[in-house]
């Protein structure tokens, strides 16, 4: 599955973050290589979202280093936009721009950041809308779409920037059960095409199927990193065992 010689895309070393006096993340070390799919799981409040939001600096970390494709990211970095363009992000609450059509949501980034023409951006957007099976909705506004459709648009919007790595922050948590499958299918297709992905999710079926590694976090620390088979059948730490029994045990 994973090429041993793949270059590291995201390298987090000794990262810490506090909210006031509260230690939100402590000594996070994680390296994600090109083409690798990492699923991050753990109880709520364990710092999963905060960790991936530090990668594109939606949240600032206070200690340690984060490198994206070799470039260190920090709050002081002048060209943080340059990094963000390489890192796609999908949010729990979709966050589509409600005042724009679906198509405009997708073309905004490429036309503003990549300096490409409206026509090219449109073709690019339609290409990705087709990939997420939603091309016929291009002229509609976000409110006219179901949650699942909106989330697929959000994925397409991120893909339009041709990112090197995709971050997913609980992409299916805000969806009705019947909408989840469509979004997961798109993510699985994306994984099969070789996209580097870091996914915070509670969808253990997805983790089993797609992940190269599962990262288990609790109380702001990485407790366990394992291949999915091993993690699900034989978790090493007590906390992971407890978490899995709560998740699967009913």
């Amino acid at each position: 599955m994973l090429d041993a010689h793949a270059k590291p895309l995201v390298e987090i070393t000794g990262m810490c973050k506090w909210y006031g006096d509260f230690s939100a993340l402590f000594d996070i070390n994680l390296t994600v290589h090109e083409g690798e799919k990492v699923v991050v799981c753990g109880p709520s409040g364990s710092g999963k979202s905060t960790m991936i939001r530090c990668i594109n600096q939606l949240e600032a970390h206070q200690k340690g280093t984060i490198r994206v494709d070799g470039v260190e990211v920090s709050p002081e970095l002048k060209n943080i936009e340059g990094i963000r363009r390489e890192v796609g992000m999908v949010f729990q609450s979709f966050n589509l721009f409600p005042h724009m059509t679906i198509l405009d949501n997708l073309t905004l980034g490429p036309t503003r950041n990549r300096g490409i023409s409206k026509k090219e951006a449109r073709d690019l957007a339609m290409h990705y809308l087709e990939r997420v099976h939603i091309a016929e909705q291009a002229e509609k506004y976000p409110v006219q779409l179901s949650g699942g459709q909106q989330q697929r648009v959000a994925i397409a919007r991120a893909l339009c920037m041709k990112p090197k790595v995709m971050l997913f922050d609980e992409p299916t948590s805000a969806l009705d059960p019947e909408m989840i499958a469509g979004v997961l299918d798109v993510m699985i297709e994306l994984a099969e095409e070789g996209m580097t992905m870091i996914v915070v999710t509670h969808e253990m079926g997805f983790a089993r199927k797609v992940a190269d590694r599962v990262v288990f976090m609790d109380q702001g620390e990485i407790i366990e990193v394992a291949e999915p088979e091993q993690f699900f059948s034989n978790p090493q730490s007590d906390r992971a065992q407890l978490f899995l029994s709560q998740l699967l045990g009913h």
């Binding site: 949010f91 966050n95 721009f97 905004l108 980034g109 991120a158």
Partner: protein
């Protein structure tokens, strides 16, 4: 039961005895007030003298021409339009500064808002007028404008700025009003920006938009849509507030009305008439904005 049967009619709203009593007492009050004015003050109404200051018959040309109060109304309208434009520019800039991380910008915008809001408008306008008329305009050379210049001596200039001879007077009024109302617009804009969900900022940043584009493409369009109703209200307030610049001799409706009232000694007629003119102006705009809002709401679906 038939699913297709129409729903029961809603209960009709009727006027009750209390409503009729209220109407009667309001009418009674009006009658009483007019009786007092006519009987106790021994006031002689003479509307025709005042109407002559709206339009008058010009003997020389043999046609009806606009008179002082119409000029005043036109100036008030110009003041309102330019005042709104500048107040909006100031308000968007300062309103954005109110929300940024940079401490200096926050201090500047906060000081501006608090300064204007905590000084009576009249006092603010006297101080600010002194500054612009003694410092700003001489520096800009507004008073030395060429009245026969090819830009100045045109219809467009007259429509936009009025009489070139009164240009510095008019601009002083516009600037005072804009600075004053800008503070209130600032607070509206700030509230609008803060009402845009945090997720919109994050999504815009996440696709790598620059700071300017985050604001221009994502945040402001949504914020401005949210603040359209209070902004419309502020614009109408601005029309009414424009009356205070009469105190620095800006020749708008209230200033000219003072002159008309003094000349004719018909105080009640003049001010009732001017009140009606303000009402028509403001209420027209209120209707216009209400219509625009309905349209905006519909186009958004």
């Amino acid at each position: 039961m038939d699913r297709n049967s129409p729903p029961p009619a809603p209960p009709r709203k009727r006027l009750t005895i209390v409503d009729y009593l209220l109407f009667a007492s309001v009418i009674g009050l009006i009658v009483f007030a007019s009786y007092r004015v006519n009987d106790v003050l021994v006031y002689h109404w003479n509307w025709s003298r005042v109407f002559g200051f709206i339009i008058r018959f010009d003997e020389e040309t043999g046609s009806w021409v606009a008179n002082l109060l119409m000029y005043g109304l036109a100036t008030t309208l110009r003041l309102a339009v330019w005042g709104t434009i500048f107040a909006t520019i100031i308000g968007i800039l300062m309103g954005y500064w109110r929300t940024v991380d940079n401490l200096t910008l926050r201090i500047i915008s906060r000081s501006y808002v608090e300064l204007v809001r905590n000084i009576p408008p009249v006092v603010f306008i006297f101080i600010f007028y002194f500054f612009i008329s003694s410092q700003l305009f001489p520096a800009l050379g507004v008073d030395d404008i060429d009245r026969d210049g090819y830009i100045v001596n045109t219809w467009a200039f007259w429509i936009l700025f009025g009489d070139p001879a009164l240009l510095s007077n008019f601009l002083a009024g516009v600037l005072c009003l804009a600075m004053f109302e800008g503070a209130y617009v600032t607070e509206i804009v700030r509230a609008g920006i803060q009402a845009v969900p945090k997720g919109q900022w994050e999504a815009a940043r996440a696709i790598g938009l620059s700071r300017t584009n985050v604001l221009k493409d994502v945040i402001l369009p949504q914020a401005l849509r949210k603040i359209l109703p209070p902004m419309a209200g502020q614009f109408i307030t601005l029309i009414k507030d424009s009356a205070i610049v009469s105190l620095i001799s800006i020749q708008e409706l209230t200033f000219l009305a003072t002159e008309v009232a003094a000349t004719t000694t018909k105080v009640f007629e003049t001010w009732i008439l001017v009140g009606a003119m303000y009402f028509v102006l403001c209420y027209s705009f209120a209707l216009l904005f209400a219509w625009l809002e309905r349209r905006a709401a519909r186009s958004r679906r």
